[in-house]
């Protein structure tokens, strides 16, 4: 699949402070890329560079074939940006705000698109109300409508669910999934790790520079050994001894009523392990793989990065 976003060593320095350092990243067309990083990591600066709002100090970026620092006007026709703060003219109505932003795009039917997105974001009944009277969730939905009003191919979302209640967050997630189904490219900037895993095809971990870039499962496999958890009615020494004698078992840990076991070949060894435990008198309630959370991946990688940087 072709790359729709490509950066080549982009670096941004503000008054001597490096915000983005030598970022090389490629995003495929139709992909949802989760761009993860702590506060102040340079995520928003990266989005601003990629959306052609600011220029890199060094390096270059192309989005859909347009140089972000040279073809901003053409680029802005095909990208949508959800900024970290949903800024609106608070004295104007929701409809008027959307109309204002929509009229900057060529080749769109402003009235049709405005009505479509007001309905899609469930703001139709409040379309004539001043935005100043809207809740944070409503403003965020309106900001999403604004980012999508011209049906962009590429959508940059900067913390789309920050500060939203769970109900609204779920709605936003559904919308991102819909964008993915429509084969649009989404650059999802977030520090919500669960959100990143739920929605992204790949995750880029970023802290001024790119720390890691892969799918969540590949990152997990690179960082952690696969372990099986056997949950039982009770765990006694006889069972532990029986497990330890198995030649494919590399390590056993008892955690309350669970045994956490590391195997030589995860998929092949599991049936034999289960059989041995039953033979030893163990009453198994469930067997599942220990799944390291994205949070664990994140913390491990960030700690390694900090250690490297000293």
């Amino acid at each position: 699949m072709q790359n729709i976003i490509e950066t080549s060593g982009i670096t941004k320095i503000f008054d001597g402070r490096v915000a983005v350092d030598d970022l090389n990243i490629k995003v495929k067309k139709g992909e949802v890329l989760g761009f993860l990083g702590p506060n102040g990591a340079g995520k928003t600066t990266t989005i601003r560079i990629l959306s052609g709002i600011i220029s890199p100090t060094k390096g270059s970026a192309t989005v859909a074939g347009f140089r972000t620092d040279e073809d901003a006007e053409k680029l802005h026709e095909i990208i949508g940006l959800l900024t970290e703060t949903p800024g609106f003219y608070e004295r104007l109505s929701a409809k008027r705000n959307l109309e204002f932003f929509a009229k900057f795009y060529s080749n769109i039917d402003v009235d049709f698109q405005v009505n479509k997105y007001l309905k899609l974001m469930e703001l139709w009944d409040r379309r004539d109300d001043k935005v100043g009277n809207f809740s944070k969730g409503m403003k965020q939905r309106l900001a999403l409508a604004r980012a999508l009003i011209h049906e962009p191919e590429i959508v940059f979302l900067d913390e789309p669910t920050a500060g939203l209640d769970p109900e609204v967050s779920i709605e936003v997630h559904k919308l991102i999934i819909k964008l993915k189904e429509e084969k649009r490219t989404v650059f999802l900037c977030t520090h919500n790790l669960e959100e990143a895993e739920l929605l992204s095809d790949r995750i880029a971990l970023f802290k001024t520079n790119l720390v890691a870039l892969d799918t969540a499962s590949n990152l997990r496999n690179q960082l952690f050994k696969r372990e099986v958890i056997i949950e039982m009615e009770s765990v006694d020494n006889k069972i532990i001894e029986a497990v330890e004698t198995l030649n494919f078992v590399q390590g056993v840990n008892k955690e309350d009523k669970q045994l956490v076991i590391e195997l030589t070949e995860f998929d092949k060894n599991r049936p034999d392990l289960v059989e041995s435990i039953i033979k030893a008198g163990g009453r198994i309630q469930s067997v599942f793989e220990r799944k390291h959370s994205v949070e664990e991946i994140y913390m491990t990688l960030i700690k390694e990065e900090d250690k490297e940087k000293g």
Binding site: T83, G87, Y89, R91, L92, F101
Partner: protein, 274 residues
């Protein structure tokens, strides 16, 4: 096609500027009422001076020197009575006094406009649309300049009607001279641009419209100074001198426009405008 889009975008910016400015009661009252108050104040003042003072009372003031200097540049004044000469001197200052109106309106528009954008935090999403920086700046400038110039010209009309109402319409031919037209047609737009750009520069550095508007004093003081030195007879601004001054103001406009455009770069707006 591109020109049509630019026109649509500029028009879009102008419309939004007018809506947001006139939805704000403070700015709406300031822009619409203040110019008429300034004009009426000038008319009432002139009326009272003329009604309740005699030419004898004015002869011994510094204003006599102003009349003498004016008479030097306009010999036809010799046929008028001493009181009428004073009236012409007063009326001749109005085009300069009138310059306070575009200054105030343009600065108000610029400050309300930019600070509204900053407070709304709408500039970043706006800059992510295909609007070009010059289209945005021109749209904002025109949104301020159009009402500013129209209101100022309406006030000039009201003043002339007032002069007639006071019963001195026979003096209008001494007032509506080439200096009057230079001031109305050139100084008003030029000073509007200057005021607007000054407002943009000031607003980019503050979040309080009042702080930004205080900068109006930079323009108001020289304008009041012009009136003062004319009334005192130190200088009379002849058409030639006014053309030179308009040229200087034009150059100042270009310089300040350059500064404003630099400040209005996307990166400055997003990163530095706090």
């Amino acid at each position: 096609m591109q020109n049509k889009m630019a026109y649509t975008r500029i028009n879009n910016v102008i419309r939004k500027e007018w809506e947001t400015t006139f939805y704000n009661l403070n700015s709406a009252l300031f822009i619409t009422l203040l110019p008429f108050i300034i004009t009426l104040q000038a008319l009432i003042l002139i009326y009272l001076v003329i009604k309740f003072s005699s030419s004898d009372a004015l002869v011994n003031t510094i204003l006599q020197r102003g009349v003498d200097t004016l008479q030097g540049t306009m010999p036809s004044l010799l046929t008028l009575s001493p009181l009428e000469k004073f009236q012409v001197l007063f009326y001749s200052q109005f085009p300069f006094y009138l310059l306070l109106i575009p200054v105030m309106i343009a600065i108000s528009f610029a400050t309300f406009s930019i600070i509204e954008e900053k407070q709304a935090r709408a500039l970043e999403p706006l800059l992510a649309t295909p609007v070009r920086t010059w289209e945005l700046l021109l749209g904002k400038a025109l949104a301020g300049a159009i009402p500013s110039i129209i209101i100022t010209w309406i006030c000039a009309g009201i003043f002339l009607a007032g002069v007639k109402w006071i019963g001195t319409s026979h003096l209008l031919k001494y007032v509506i001279t080439s200096s009057w037209w230079i001031s109305i047609l050139f100084f008003v737009p030029l000073i509007t641009v200057f005021g607007f750009m000054l407002g943009i520069i000031a607003s980019s550095r503050t979040n309080d419209p009042k702080n930004a508007q205080n900068l109006a004093i930079v323009i108001i003081l020289p304008v009041l100074g012009l009136i003062g030195i004319q009334l005192g007879g130190y200088v009379i601004l002849t058409p030639g001198l006014l053309v030179i001054m308009a040229g200087v103001l034009f150059i100042l406009d270009l310089l300040i426009l350059k500064v404003a455009v630099r400040l209005f770069k996307r990166e400055s707006i997003v990163i530095k405008w706090k």
